[in-house]
């Protein structure tokens, strides 16, 4: 009999997140896929999950999961795990996913594997593939604990797939204990961003330490505008305070998989590589010919980005006009 694999589904921008559907595709391929969905969501949320392979959905739409972070969801999921004992439970490498797994692993004393790129079930255990230290190495890991194995899966590891199942929803009671209402979500502030979003962009132009300052990022913005691209950044640029964290690409930022990725003044630290190395084409501009990023690039130019990028912008405008 196929092993049961659970997916913790998340809702973002009013719909089931793409990463949830990606994990669901893998879960239904590797075993019997079931989903836990907590918190208010759109009316068609459970149907969407069933359409993508969920053979059962444990569901509770109570607002407690939205208004109080981590603890209510951990309580409910821990209870469900203890009751049903799935072989594996998958969580997205998202803000909520990571916090939830951290809590659950301590609560259930069961460890967890983070940053999983793929996995398989073998003899009742799980073997997970982890691109370790960014992209320098690829490791495989297993979990030795009895019971459910918790995996945090990086976005874009799998392709979402339509795989319609009969709708089977089991409503579960909301976590009601007052002691779980401790981390209060008071307000969600949406910060408007300009241009296309990083996640969906066909072309991404990213800058790193080599940009040398906040103002110089406008140069990348100009390049992005000509190409209809989104602007991203390495952790070095974010840490320096030049651009907001929302633009960070890498293991602890966003994972992107555009057709074309421009790495401008980015050395290619392992942290960064893991967020963009699956891009179709990588174009690199860096003054250091030994920068690791050149190992991954399809076309690289060694030189001064402040000369090369303006020339590229001018050239693109010229050719567009022609």
């Amino acid at each position: 009999m196929a092993e049961t694999i659970w997916v913790y589904a998340e809702i973002g921008d009013g719909k089931i997140t793409t990463t949830s559907l990606e994990m669901l595709a893998k879960a239904s391929e590797a075993g019997k896929a079931e989903v836990v969905l907590l918190g208010p969501g759109p009316d068609d949320a459970v149907q969407t999950l069933a359409n993508h392979g969920a053979s059962r959905i444990y569901h509770c739409a109570d607002a407690v999961y939205q208004d109080y972070l981590t603890l209510p969801a951990a309580e409910t999921v821990a209870g469900l795990i203890e009751k049903h004992n799935p072989a594996v439970m998958l969580f997205a490498s998202s803000y909520a996913g990571r916090d939830l797994v951290a809590n659950l692993s301590a609560r259930l004393d069961c460890g967890a594997i983070t940053d999983v790129g793929d996995f398989e079930l073998k003899d009742g255990s799980v073997v997970a593939t982890i691109p370790a230290l960014g992209a320098s190495y690829e490791n495989t890991s297993t979990l030795l604990n009895q019971g459910t194995k918790l995996l945090i899966v990086r976005p874009k590891s799998f392709e979402p797939k339509e795989n319609p199942q009969a709708l089977a929803v089991e409503e579960v009671p909301a976590a009601a204990d007052d002691s779980l209402r401790k981390v209060h979500m008071k307000e969600r502030v949406v910060v408007k961003r300009e241009g296309p979003s990083l996640e969906g962009a066909k072309i991404v132009v990213s800058g790193g330490r080599g940009l040398k300052g906040e103002e110089q990022f406008s140069l990348l913005k100009d390049l992005a505008d000509v190409l209809g691209a989104a602007v991203g950044a390495s952790r070095a640029a974010v840490d320096a305070g030049w651009v907001p964290y929302a633009m960070q690409i890498g293991q602890t930022g966003k994972t992107v998989k555009p057709d074309i990725y421009f790495a401008v003044g980015i050395s290619g630290a392992v942290q960064h590589l893991s967020g963009m190395k699956t891009s179709k084409y990588i174009i690199t501009i860096n003054k250091d010919p030994d920068a690791p990023i050149f190992q991954y690039s399809d076309f690289g130019v060694v030189g001064d980005l402040f000369k090369i990028v303006p020339q590229l912008i001018e050239e693109l405008k010229k050719r567009k006009g022609a």
Partner: protein
Amino acid sequence: MNVVVCGKVIPASTVTIELDASNKRMVRKGVPHELDPAAASAVEEGLRLIEKHGGQVVLVTMGASDVTIGIRNALAMGVASAVHILDDAVAGSDTLATAKLLAAAVKKQEFDIVLCATESSDSYSGIVHGQIAQLLGIPPLSFAKEITVDGGNVTIKRQSESGYDIVESALPALVACSSGINEPRYPQLKGIMAAKKKEIKVYSAADLGLAPDQVGEKGAREKVLTIGRPPKRQAGKAVTDEGEGGKQIADFLAEIKVI
């Protein structure tokens, strides 16, 4: 207020981290170490809190004797004293075993708030802080890009996919700081001199009440099976800019039919 910072001392950023094929761990011996920049930001945040509200900051860390240099750096920044979990038996600990050790060491301190980095800059698991919070039984707040303490409450701006959330909890609580929350101060000469006299308490796993089979490789739930290098992408063409670099990129874009 009393602040405990759990932070890591890691191989310096100038070091290319290698994995040891024999024990499947990072090679940490014999390479220069530094206070993880992410931990330095948590220390900085702690120092700013006590500058405003009074009290002191204690650093809790774990590692071989190589990490002392990073502890001294934190002490020189203004941390009052440090706790160093130093024990051969803890080598090979997974995230949960690490969290158990750190939580046990934190329990020995007085604290109103525990600060961590969201993730270390060498292994990036990003779950140890949440495990520590649960083991301590205090509320977990994470991805903080701003922290405000007011009376018995802490309010953070928490990064989100679309901006940030305002999240509040009663103290004591654990707050994980995101990278870039602040610019950590550089230790001044006075601080460096003072640091030499500050106490570094050393604990073994046994001192923290943890049995040998709960920590290190024996206590690890996660077992690394294989390590290896993934197939490298075929590195493409690289040219040196001789005044035509921008045009050459445009040519490449034309070649792959983007323009």
